[in-house]
Symmetry: C2
Subunit: 196 residues, 2 copies
């Protein structure tokens, strides 16, 4: 029953969402119950409903928050006066930092978004698709300007996003290198390649 | 009851394993039942047991077969007189081709190996760990010989393996590019980088 009792309502909701992300990551959205959540939050299941309507509300809060962060970032990047290569690097670093710092939310939104109910499902799917297209368009722009090799832009996006999702196993490993080193290594390999 | 009745026993077993890999990929190992498998194979559930002992046997056949293929490949690559960069490229292409041609087995072994029972679980885990170490050692060798940039070798392995696992979404997409093009794009980006 610890510290959650002493907080105001909006902080309580934040903690509930945070604990839900952790629970959904560990157990999977479908298998996780509101009873499990009450247990990790340290309250009675009934009192969760003072803050949130349903398990499904928790999933859409988590997923749409992640989608909005990426959409805001690409809005910001597109508006800047930078080379395509610089834009790609900023986005890549943002993906890496999100996986390092908010990885539970990112992993849940990546794995569990298909369980969203409407209208959140369509909203999320649309944001995700648009984001990838806009990322690919930045790469295409770089190819046109001869900053980037003549590669298939969608494949490049796919490689970057999946390489970054590998950070999940970095979290599980004994973390021989720091997050900052991991970021530098990933950027070097993906932007400049392994070969010397 | 179609064509499976006319085959000899070892071909029947092969078909059962193939259908099981497909089923485990679609439904997940835990959720898939022997009844589901009998249905997709087109036989009675009881007659599956003429060819295999249990659902768990199917999983270890799939996982250990994948692990053995990768182990054999790295044995072969290590024995060749090639630069580290060439060895890395051969392994990377092998991963890509496995994801293009045997992707159901590879995905199942990647996602479901934790459900293996002993002694298969320890065997698989050991092969997997050793494979990654040997791959990292080839990269280290390349760094020493100045063929490869000074990067963290384990991070490089992690990036390559996860980037390749992104081919799963390539299979689901409308496949605007061919497998061969995908392979060339991946090798270019990962070995030589996006930047021109």
């Amino acid at each position: 029953m610890g510290r959650i009792q002493t907080l105001n309502n909006s902080s309580r909701k934040e903690i509930i969402v945070e604990k839900a992300a952790n629970l959904f990551k560990e157990k999977g959205y479908k298998a996780a119950s509101m009873r499990d959540l009450a247990e990790v939050v340290g309250v009675e299941a009934a009192s969760l409903y003072n803050h949130i309507k349903s398990k499904s509300e928790l999933l859409h809060v988590i997923c749409l928050d992640v989608a909005n962060r990426f959409t805001n970032k690409i809005d910001e990047v597109e508006a800047e006066e930078l080379s395509a290569k610089e834009k790609i690097e900023i986005l890549l670093r943002f993906h890496i930092q999100e996986m390092l710092n908010n990885y539970e939310d990112v992993i849940v939104s990546d794995r569990e978004w298909k369980h969203l109910s409407e209208p959140y499902l369509s909203n999320f799917r649309h944001q995700r698709k648009t984001y990838r297209k806009r990322f690919a368009a930045i790469i295409e722009e770089g190819i046109k300007k001869k900053e980037i090799k003549k590669i298939d832009a969608s494949t490049a996006v796919l490689i970057m996003l999946h390489a970054v999702s590998g950070i999940e196993s970095f979290h599980r490993s004994k973390q021989k290198i720091s997050g900052k080193e991991l970021e530098e290594n990933m950027v070097t390999i993906l932007i400049n390649g392994l070969a010397k």
